[in-house]
């Protein structure tokens, strides 16, 4: 055996350097491949052991949580229950990850329960120290998003001021999570951060914030004007979204100005908002914008608004548009608006007249109620 190794050694030593390099690389790669297979298998074992631990902790802790949530515990019993949970999660090696498992368990229950159970879970979250862990994580800065997410999910209103600091944070993900949490915890009062927000909000973020805002009870949002006047277009768009979804009529003057906004998205949203709020007084402005703009999307939006806000004057305009316009989308939108204005008769008369083949098919399409 030793002879074999000696011979191999001398063979390798005698090799040319380029052979040595390639051979070294081949052997390294094979070792690397083998090591990776081992790592993959070990990773599986690790995952399995974590899952087992999770299952074990859940099995032991869940009945206690359920009892806290569903029965009338007094102060003493509550403390005993917490002690029991602490004993289960306590471990020299795994305390941190056990607490994380417990955290997820409580969050899960919290998401799926309401009423008194909801409040008891919040109390448990505080008492067992999970709230403190989240706040520490937030202050240390390693787990900003997770901490903010946990605190807002558990509705820890007292941490609002800690979270508000991050609503204009440089990291976009942290900033978004903090904005969402602020609205969730502080309601419309916490939306003050929008007043002087410099950074753009994505449409996704606007939709998230709107989703939270829709939970507000109806009340006047006096900040609306500031948002609509903002230099930050994403704040303006969000303001318009709030305006129409929460029926905030009081800033109609600002809305009228926004119909002329230079940003196409803002302009489009403003027209749509005017339509949804049935703001018929702005029809004259819409005519003006229609003449000024060259953008088909905006024109389409205006024709659509006329179908909801218009009267006899608009019927004339829409008729004229069908006859005059060559753009398919505009003719289509005008015909649709006529139908919404209840003037099928106009469309039927068009059908009977000699229209272009395209115009005729559009009118037929609009008159077909099955589409």
């Amino acid at each position: 055996m030793s002879r074999f190794f000696t011979e191999t050694y001398y063979f390798l030593v005698a090799l040319e350097p380029r052979y040595k390099i390639v051979l070294f690389l081949v052997i390294s790669l094979l070792i690397l491949a083998a090591a990776m297979i081992v790592i993959v298998l070990r990773e599986r074992s690790r995952k399995n052991s974590v899952e087992n631990r999770e299952r074990r902790i859940s099995r032991n802790v869940e009945p206690i949580i359920q009892e806290i949530v569903f029965s009338e515990y007094d102060g003493g019993e509550f403390k005993d229950a917490i002690k029991k949970i602490n004993r289960i999660v306590d471990s020299a090696l795994y305390r941190k990850s056990n607490m994380a498992i417990l955290n997820e368990l409580i969050l899960y229950y919290h998401r799926n329960l309401g009423g008194e159970a909801f409040n008891r879970l919040e109390m448990l979250y505080r008492e067992i120290g999970l709230k403190q862990i989240a706040l520490d994580n937030l202050r240390i800065g390693e787990w900003h998003i997770k901490a903010i997410n946990d605190l807002s999910t558990m509705r820890m209103g007292e941490s609002l001021f800690d979270i508000l600091q991050y609503t204009d944070y440089e990291n976009q993900n942290v900033r978004y999570e903090a904005q969402y949490a602020a609205v969730k915890l502080g309601g419309k009062k916490a939306m003050g951060f929008l007043d002087d927000l410099d950074t753009p909000m994505s449409e996704w973020q606007q939709i998230r914030l709107l989703d939270q805002s829709l939970k507000f009870e109806y009340e006047l949002i006096d900040r609306m004007g500031k948002w609509l006047r903002s230099d930050n277009n994403s704040v303006v768009v969000f303001g318009l979204m709030i305006m129409r979804n929460l029926n905030q009529y009081h800033e109609k003057g600002e809305l009228r100005k926004l119909l002329y906004h230079k940003d196409e998205k803002v302009q489009e949203k403003a027209i749509d908002t005017a339509r949804e709020l049935a703001y018929a007084e702005c029809l004259e402005n819409l005519y003006e914008v229609y003449e000024l703009t060259k953008k088909i999307r905006i024109k389409k939006q205006i024709l659509c608004a006329m179908g909801d806000l218009g009267g006899s004057k608009e019927v004339g305009f829409l008729r004229e548009t069908i006859a005059r316009e060559k753009e398919y989308d505009l003719v289509f939108e005008a015909a649709q608006s006529l139908k919404r204005l209840g003037r099928r008769d106009v469309l039927v008369s068009y059908k009977e007249q000699e229209l272009s083949e395209k115009g005729e098919s559009i009118v037929k399409h609009i008159l077909d109620d099955r589409i």
Partner: protein, 509 residues
């Protein structure tokens, strides 16, 4: 490596240059894969971390979600069309329509659709913004439950033509272009739309997602219920290939904003831009890649500050060929498709005006996707010749081949490791080991076959001028055997090739 004569002849120099180029090229390919792999891992981890707190319920309930039209061209898909359309209709998204285009099928696809979904012909005014073959009729359902289903019956014109017809009929701001036989994840659209809604600085023009292999997976009511590694070795090879291509390749290119291909099996596009740049090109068989490249080119030429996104989540499941003959036709077609696009957009090559796609993506695709198999085939032929002539040092060559083999196997195993720490779909240990075994065999069996397909694809393109699609006839999803839930995908034997088959590359990997 080379035994020179005392006097260096011209041939000696040529041989020396040949080896220098071959070895250099190989090392460069290996290094580039490594860099892309590292980038992908970083990106996939970042994506998973960022999305672990995403609550899609926000958008699912939102009245402000943009409208999306799902475009599904179908040709002779009677075996699976009902099930597939049902799967499309049950996608989770607040505001979408499904447009199925029957591209002149010669089977009962349309009749089945009419019967199952209670369709009736309507007076739909088709706006031929994009020129297509004649639309014979448009159908809508009498049943309000299928209110968002539109079926277009048109003369056969090929996949691109069918997609263009669907675009003409669509009303959404965005289009999700898919193969009708693909199985989409329920939240596929939510995840694909997220990059569009998240982008604040640039104009997101398209996003793609990861396509995975559904062979041997259990399917119930148009949804994947159990993920398995395919039984056949050929499909296992393709599983590894798809994993590498999507998990390591596309994710990295996506992070670099250098994607040249959004797979025809799954991609969301900004409709306005698709129309502006002329829609799908009827004259190409690689229509997915061609459109992506054209859109990027158009955006650049119109000074639109754009970006193309990629979602690392596996969102779409597709069946892959289980016979070598069908696979050969498919890969031959992919080669020709890519080649057509490269030729059509040759202006991009090393053109700094087009930024990353001109300076990095296009040259990379040209050198490492198109040329690699040709160089490899040429290299092998020369090596055989040189070894017969005795002008090369065989032992060094063997060692170098061993290095390539070791690298390929390591790379495959690294891919499996990355899958393990990111999406972790193959949960059974036995399945993992089967993939490892396939990874050991792949460079010896599958890779040479791909090189052969690519060479024949080039031959067909340059010397035969072929444009036809290969075919992959489906028998639909089989009912599960007793005692097992769900269905397993099976693929029938291929039918003879037919012209204008509406079937895109499952992945365009």
């Amino acid at each position: 490596m080379i035994e020179f004569d005392n006097q260096n002849s011209f041939i000696d120099v040529l041989i020396y240059v040949f080896f220098f180029v071959t070895y250099g090229y190989t090392v460069f390919v290996m290094v580039s894969y490594l860099v892309l792999g590292i980038l992908s891992v970083v990106q996939a981890r970042k994506y998973l971390r960022r999305n672990s707190y995403t609550d899609y319920l926000n958008i699912l309930q939102s009245p402000e979600a943009p409208t999306v039209s799902i475009l599904a061209p179908a040709y002779n898909e009677e075996a699976s069309i009902i099930e597939n359309v049902r799967s499309l209709l049950s996608i989770r998204y607040p505001n979408f329509e499904v447009i199925v285009v029957n591209d002149g099928s010669r089977d009962r696809s349309l009749i089945k659709l009419i019967e199952e979904y209670h369709l009736e012909r309507v007076d739909f005014a088709v706006n031929y913004t994009l020129a297509t073959k004649n639309v014979k009729a448009v159908y809508k359902s009498k049943n309000p439950a299928y209110n968002n289903l539109v079926v277009v019956d048109k003369e056969n014109g090929g996949k691109s033509d069918a997609l263009n017809a669907a675009i003409n009929v669509s009303t959404g701001e965005y289009t999700l272009n898919i193969d009708v036989d693909c199985i989409l994840e329920e939240d596929c659209l939510l995840k694909l739309m997220k990059p569009f809604l998240e982008e604040t600085e640039k104009n997101m023009i398209a996003t793609g997602g990861v396509v995975r292999i559904a062979n041997n997976c259990k399917i119930d009511k148009g949804r994947i219920t159990e993920i398995n590694v395919p039984n056949k070795l050929l499909s296992q090879f393709q599983t590894l290939e798809y994993l590498r291509s999507f998990l390591l390749g596309r994710v990295a290119w996506g992070s670099l904003d250098g994607l040249l291909l959004i797979s025809g099996a799954l991609g969301v596009f900004q409709k306005e831009l698709v129309i502006a740049c002329g829609g799908y090109d009827d004259d190409t068989i690689g229509e997915d890649m061609e459109l992506t490249v054209r859109m990027r080119r158009y955006a650049r030429e119109k000074d639109i500050d754009y970006v193309v996104g990629f979602v690392p989540d596996p969102l779409c499941w597709t069946e892959v060929p289980e016979s070598w003959a069908v696979l050969r036709r498919q890969r031959n077609r992919w080669t020709r498709g890519a080649l057509e696009t490269l030729v059509a957009h040759k202006r991009l090559f090393l053109n700094p005006y087009y930024g990353k796609i001109g300076m990095i993506s296009y040259p990379y695709w040209l050198l490492f996707e198109w040329l690699a198999p040709l160089i490899e085939a040429f290299g092998i032929l020369l090596l055989v010749l040189f070894s017969l002539l005795g002008v090369i040092n065989i032992s060094f060559l063997y060692l170098f081949i061993a290095l390539i083999y070791g690298y390929t196997v390591s790379f495959t195993i690294a891919t499996l490791y990355i899958e393990e720490i990111t999406f972790f779909h193959y949960k059974k240990r036995r399945q993992l080991l089967r993939l490892v075994l396939a990874g050991l065999l792949e460079p010896l069996i599958f890779h040479p076959f791909l090189v052969y397909c690519s060479v024949t694809g080039n031959w067909d393109y340059f010397f035969e001028g072929k444009k036809a699609w290969g075919s992959m006839k489906r028998v639909g999803f089989k009912k599960p055997s007793n005692g097992s839930k769900g269905r397993k995908i099976t693929i029938s034997k291929p039918s003879p090739s037919s012209k204008n088959q509406v079937r895109s590359s499952p992945a365009g990997a």
